[in-house]
């Protein structure tokens, strides 16, 4: 029995990798297996080289491997690129009619997808189902894993006849393997996991969208930009049911200003983009800062500068999001590492944005956005909803109202305009308590005091310390933030057999967490070796750590090729460094 496999499906855009991959993942998870998928695609609609990778396991997993056990090659380029990454006793499935080439090496196995479809007299698009059946057969499965149900759920608009044909094609693929591939060449079946688990399927952007929805987000405006667009798509899919308005703005400048207009109007509002779009939003962030208008901003990173690698991943906008926007004002930046964190931190973002009337960021990246996780459940207990706006009778019974009245904690009541006779006046200029334009030094000082000195310490108290995973008194600490959580966690768990090692992960990075609950700097100082893993070239988090605490890591592991860290790669990097000491 095996405990896990990695299946990679490669081909040109439009060849059905998403279809096959999506169905396989659902089949595996319905059968009780844990899966983790990630996608690697080019910025084009047809052609090119894309792949969809599925890791299937009988224990929880949170990262991708750098090697594979089964490669389904839908074009020749896939073979040329991926063949060297095959595991021992792995298989490469291909149809020589499609690839126009025969391979004699023992890891290659020809499956005549096209011919099988011809024999069955089915539409040739159904050869993808033959391929799917073949993959299942090679991975040691004896059935199609409820393919019929999955397909009818997965493709909402389809007729019974189509489903029956797809099932027929899938079965033919599976039967072909049973007949033609000697049992010794098939992969060993994976040990069955515990039964009766009902898995959730979720990726990072889906979790952010869900987080917005449960936090009472009523308005989302954005300009489409990879890899942030799927947050918008998710909210559109729920708009009617939950009364959310999603508006596609003419540009990102408009997107953030619309969201601020809606927030001023009294509803929870959000926008989302990637680095290039965020560049256009920065004056709006500053506007949120001085007008003290609550807003949540998702920034889903891709590699820059400028257009960079539009469909790939990087963690290179940390400083940009922490410092983007002219002038000085408080903000909060969260960097979730998992869909659970993306959900809970988006919820916390809405909570803090309204409680303190500030911009709050959820910073993610293409890797987290597009990787699909199977989760046993999502915690709803820790989610919170508290309406901080002044409305209803509480507002109408107020005798005197000023939008920026000076208060003990710097937070002024946030009234709904039009809901009472009280006027709500906000200004991008420095203003008095009424919200009207001023220029005198005294009022300016009072307002800066209110926004910055009074609110910031309270906001800082809300920021949770990093998570320590592994040895609690480690010799070696691997620090990371954001989407490198899953891979670093697994790497540290594996290296735990060899070293006293732990992961220190930051998901709430700004304001930098206080040290009174958990003195992570003291812990780092006590460790013998400290590393910082980042998906960028300049080590922005390591720089932030030095800036905020004075602590300097012994070494940095940086990757900036636009691809995420795979587990094998990161294990090699960490172990290689530790061996060299």
């Amino acid at each position: 029995m095996a405990s896990e496999y990695t299946i990679r499906i490669g081909g040109a855009a439009g060849q059905g990798m998403q279809f096959i991959g999506g169905l396989l993942v659902r089949g595996f998870s319905d059968a009780g297996f844990y899966t983790f998928t990630h996608q690697d695609y080019m910025s084009r609609i047809k052609g090119g080289h894309n792949f969809y990778q599925i890791r299937i396991s009988n224990h929880p997993i949170s990262s991708s491997r750098n090697t594979f056990d089964i490669l389904l090659a839908l074009n020749r380029e896939t073979i040329e690129i991926h063949a060297p990454e095959i595991n021992k006793s792995g298989l490469i499935l291909y149809d020589s009619e499609i690839i126009k080439h025969d391979y004699s090496q023992e890891e290659f196995f020809h499956v005549p997808f096209t011919d099988i479809i011809r024999q069955l007299d089915l539409d040739k698009v159904m050869s993808t189902s033959v391929a799917l059946g073949a993959v299942l057969g090679c991975a040691g499965f004896e059935s199609l894993l409820g393919f019929e149900t999955i397909i009818s759920n997965f493709i909402p608009v389809t007729t019974e006849g189509v489903i029956a044909s797809q099932v027929k094609a899938g079965q033919a693929g599976l039967d072909y393997i049973t007949k033609a591939l000697e049992p010794s060449r098939r992969l060993l079946p994976i040990g069955q996991p515990e039964k009766d688990k009902d898995f959730l399927f979720i990726n990072g952007n889906h979790a952010i969208g869900l987080g917005a929805l449960v936090s009472g987000c009523k308005f989302y405006s954005a300009y489409p930009m990879t890899p942030a667009t799927s947050i918008m798509l998710y909210l559109i899919s729920k708009a009617e049911k939950y009364g959310i308005i999603v508006e596609q703005a003419e540009d990102e400048i408009s997107a953030i200003n619309m969201a601020l207009g809606a927030s001023y109007g009294g509803v929870r509002a959000m926008t989302g983009t990637s680095g290039g779009g965020f560049a256009l939003m920065t004056e709006g962030v500053s506007l949120a800062g001085i007008t003290e208008t609550p807003i949540v901003i998702a920034e889903v990173q891709r590699p820059g500068p400028a257009t960079g690698l539009p469909t790939r991943t990087e963690q290179s906008d940390l400083f940009f999001v922490i410092f983007g926007g002219h002038g000085e004002f408080p903000r909060v930046v969260f960097t979730p590492g998992t869909p659970e964190q993306a959900l809970s931190l988006t919820n916390k973002a809405f909570h803090l944005a309204e409680k303190y009337q500030i911009p709050v960021f959820i910073q993610s990246d293409q890797y987290l956005a597009d990787s699909q996780w199977t989760l046993e459940d999502l915690d709803t207990e820790s989610l919170q909803y508290e309406d901080f706006r002044l409305r209803g009778s509480e507002l109408s019974n107020t005798d005197f109202y000023q939008r920026y009245s000076l208060s003990e904690n710097g937070v002024s009541p946030l009234a709904i305009p039009g809901a009472s006779k009280h006027l709500v006046v906000v200004d991008s200029d420095e203003h008095d308590q009424d919200g009207h334009i001023i220029e005198d030094a005294h009022t300016r000082n009072m307002m800066v005091e209110k926004r910055y000195h009074k609110k910031l310490p309270l906001i800082n108290r809300e920021i949770a310390p990093p998570i320590l995973h592994g040895y609690q008194k480690p010799d070696i600490v691997v620090t990371c933030y954001g989407s490198t959580f899953g891979v670093t966690k697994e790497a540290v768990e594996r290296l735990g057999a060899k070293y006293k090692i732990a992961m220190l992960h930051f998901s709430e990075v700004y304001p930098f967490p206080l040290r009174d609950i958990f003195d992570y700097v003291d812990m780092l100082n006590t460790a013998k070796t400290t590393l910082c893993v980042e998906n960028n070239v300049s080590g922005q988090f390591a720089q932030l750590m030095r800036m905020e605490t004075g602590f300097e890591f012994d070494a940095r592991i940086n990757k900036f090729d636009g691809r995420p860290f795979g587990l094998d790669y990161l294990l090699g990097e960490i172990d290689g460094y530790l061996r060299g000491l």
Binding site: G216, A249, E250, N257, G261, A269, Y385, V426, D427
Partner: protein
């Protein structure tokens, strides 16, 4: 009853003789006559001398960024379509910096009234050419004369099929007519552009108060604002004579009316059920 006193705000900090004073007064009169109370209205403005106007009144105000009045106004209307939203901007603000937003606000037909203080020059930044500056005008930043042609906002709006396109003049002789235009714009259900010609006493030495006074006239009663072609023809008239009035009208559904979710209740008044929303996770 709503009175002018209800709208009394700070003392304006404009140059003596600025056309803004007249616009401020006439807006207040139009609102008072329509019995609109200050809390039922939000003025969204950007940056420029005209954009300071809401501080010299008393009403709900969002004085945002240069060029960004219309996106804020659009977001606000989507959150609360019971609120009257007037956007106040200058020619630099909404024809220059925010030009893209204007195109799309017209396309959306969001129910926002855009009153443009058009003095054909940048006042706040001290005398540079604006999109409506006459071609060839020499300024500090255009020493060889403004090289770009003058934007015709009315012709542009009519070409985009904007549902309400008008021009007024902020001189004493034009004010009663301007007030009626403003009231009609406020009554119109959809996006309304009112371009208001005003003098800049400090920086525009060409298009002075008298320059406008001598040229502007009211569109005759037989002008049919529902005739797009004749409206477009009229909008091209600029020189010795400059027409004012409602050039073009078209009645069509506003953006807000087309959003199904807010058909019955404004978004801000719709309740949120945290427990129902959490079901989305458990039933995920």
């Amino acid at each position: 009853m709503v009175t002018l006193e209800d709208y009394k705000g700070q003392e304006p900090a404009w140059c003596p003789g600025c056309g803004n004073f007249a616009i401020l007064n006439i807006i207040k009169r139009a609102l008072t006559e329509l019995e609109i109370a200050p809390h039922q209205l939000t003025i969204v403005s950007g940056i420029g001398q005209g954009a300071k106007m809401p501080h010299y009144m008393k009403c709900n105000t969002f004085n945002g960024l240069h060029g960004r009045t219309l996106p804020v106004a659009t977001g606000l209307r989507m959150a609360n379509h019971d609120m009257l939203v007037i956007a106040i901007a200058g020619d630099g603000d909404c024809y220059g910096e925010g030009g893209n937003h204007l195109l799309h606000a017209i396309r959306r037909n969001v129910n926002v009234k855009l009153f443009v203080h058009n003095n054909q020059i940048y006042g706040l930044t001290k005398g540079q050419a604006s999109p409506t500056t006459t071609e060839g005008t020499i300024t500090k930043t255009q020493p060889f004369g403004s090289l770009s042609s003058q934007l015709n906002p009315l012709a542009m709006a009519i070409s985009l099929d904007c549902g309400f396109v008008a021009r007024g003049f902020a001189g004493a002789s034009g004010l009663p007519f301007l007030k009626e235009i403003m009231k009609e714009a406020i009554r119109h259900k959809g996006f309304a552009l009112v371009d208001i010609l005003q003098n800049c006493i400090s920086f525009n030495k060409v298009n002075t108060f008298h320059w406008y006074k001598d040229r502007t006239y009211e569109l005759p009663d037989d002008h049919d604002p529902y005739d797009r072609i004749s409206a477009f023809q009229k909008s091209l008239e600029w020189g010795d004579t400059i027409p004012t009035g409602i050039f073009y009208r078209k009645d069509k559904k506003s953006f807000e009316e087309k959003i199904p979710g807010i058909k019955d209740t404004p978004l801000v008044l719709q309740p949120f059920s945290f427990s129902d929303a959490k079901m989305e996770i458990s039933g995920n």
